[in-house]
Symmetry: C2
Subunit: 415 residues, 2 copies
Amino acid sequence: MTTARPELKIDGLIAELLALGQISEAEPPVVTRVVFGEADLRARAFVKSLCEASGLKVREDAVGNTFARWEGSEPALAPIGTGSHIDAIPNAGLYDGCVGVLGGLEAIRVLGKLGFKPRRSIELVIFTAEEPTRFGIGCLGSRMMAGLLTPEQALALRDKEGRGLEGWRAQAGFKGPLNSVAASRGRFHQFVELHIEQGPLLEQEGTDVGLVTHIAAPASQRITIEGEGGHAGGKLMPGRKDALTAAAELILAVESAAKSTGAVDTVGTVGICDVFPGAVNSVPSRVLITTDVRDIDGARRDGVLASLASAYDEISARRGVKITTELVNADPPATCDPAIVSALERSAIAAGKTYRKMVARAYHDSSFVAFIAPVAMLFIPCRGGVSHRPDEYASPEWIGGGVHVLSRTLAELAS
Amino acid sequence: MTTARPELKIDGLIAELLALGQISEAEPPVVTRVVFGEADLRARAFVKSLCEASGLKVREDAVGNTFARWEGSEPALAPIGTGSHIDAIPNAGLYDGCVGVLGGLEAIRVLGKLGFKPRRSIELVIFTAEEPTRFGIGCLGSRMMAGLLTPEQALALRDKEGRGLEGWRAQAGFKGPLNSVAASRGRFHQFVELHIEQGPLLEQEGTDVGLVTHIAAPASQRITIEGEGGHAGGKLMPGRKDALTAAAELILAVESAAKSTGAVDTVGTVGICDVFPGAVNSVPSRVLITTDVRDIDGARRDGVLASLASAYDEISARRGVKITTELVNADPPATCDPAIVSALERSAIAAGKTYRKMVARAYHDSSFVAFIAPVAMLFIPCRGGVSHRPDEYASPEWIGGGVHVLSRTLAELAS
């Protein structure tokens, strides 16, 4: 593992990625694979068969998290973990998640071909339902593994038709007590996830890989603003309690609160704004908005939320509207382990790849694995920063660079 | 016509209103009568039968405007007009429009019973499609009568299924060239419309009737704001072109522009706000809003629109979003004829009714009749200012007061 700049031949990996993309509920190249749906199950079978063909031993837990293990020479030691997810939101693309799973497998195969013998076992993980499509909650598998979603909470989850996790996992063939999913600290010695950036930075800079130092996480709220409706002609301005003008102030408050920290890592977004009754000549009586506030610094994010709560109170009092907030989630930001980041850095240098340290602004399974193990993430560029769309794209060179750095890192960590 | 305070017996009228309310596409008491639909046609037949039973001569024009005429002793003179509409938006109530039609008929019957002989003929008018439900444009019949919607424009109208006016009116049995609908100035000597207030003022004050001096009218725009979407985590605040935060500024600009005139009669409303793609973790790329700006003073209203255009330009330039405005309509406010308002005032005094002068903030068929004849409107209270809802309500006393004042007014105008 000492020669610089040996470019990997990854034709096989690219072919596997394309083949995985053919397994979709939608017409390829559009990828839709909702957890426990028919395409998700076929995709799982495909990836398992690749793992088994590579000599890995595959095990599944009660919620479908899948572990493909390359046994080390000291199998009693906690393993090194790598991996991601293969479920995909509706109308997604080929690379999100899948690069981390199939790229992780490729890294393991590369090491095997080079004659590397791991001391610690290496486990490739395919997490169940990183995407929130089916049950409305992201990172289902890793969240349960980290013990942050209890079996009771998991069993209470429902899809849009009211069908629960229990029925879905049974149909998918996953059995056993859900309380066996949670793992304790030490389940992995270290964990590293390869992923496309989902942002434009690496491509814009022409940098080969990103070494993630922090993973941001969102706090999301659903906010209902209740005012007083009426005819747009009949309701005079002084007497109005217009739910939409109040909502407009909330929307701008989210923007300025996010900007006010002065930190580039704070972002705040209102992505949904539903207006009732929603007629050109009706004063809106009720508006529903959602807010999404993210930061890599949990305390700073919570500070933004607190200042927004005050702003909402002021708007409510001044405009005479009722504002109800419901916290949908407030997932924790994660800090990556400096030792793994250093290993990634050494590997990038050894592989002759340009790199930069950066933060992950979307959250990932690693955000939850971080509760039971030291984690880090390795980013590769994606074209235009686009993800979650059919035109999502990472070039074979970018993927090859990531796999190269990952394989060196796994070798170092597992030695 | 000289005795003050003779309370009218209007049990028959109330029974007719209730009977008309039974003719609905929805389950009574919910009233839905979309123009040229089955319920609208049955309602027309019912009202025509009442008119004919009262000795009026009924005629329909090519678009279904219906004229029930009480011939005067000098039939060559231009008639006095009264009336309103009987179509109803989905989920409406019993009184909007119908009080003006059946109340107008009752006023005529009252005069007949009193032995009054009109010099000028009196025509009760039922206008086609005051509500915009079917074809997206309000006051279809009166608008065409005023020549403000040409036959070509009318033929280009389409319902949601793409079906045009021509097919609908043929199915409803209305024939003849559409260019025969427009009437010239002098078609009516004077026109007066009885209507529920659709606002809370009269009920709150305990005033019997409102004498309308001005009829406000809306200018409506559809505004598209196009920015740049992206992931709520990945898109940093400084680089954003968020269509929704820009829309929020537009929404607040409409509010403050309406307030800035200092006139209570200026109102501005954003009633629709559609966000794309509309996901909690997506920066909105496109937002559609509608604006509705009304005033009784057309120049002042246009001033508000002009100042808003500047505000939109400023927001567009500062935020780097594209703002496209489309004028949906800019109907003219109407000023009521002082001579008719004076006649209404004398009639209210003679009838022993309390009254106030006021403006109409919703627009009405009279807004368009005003282009071909002097008009005025007579308002009665409605409970809670509520209209366009199943719980819309005007008490028999309120209705009786309106009919009483209207009958005296018609008698004076037709003498």
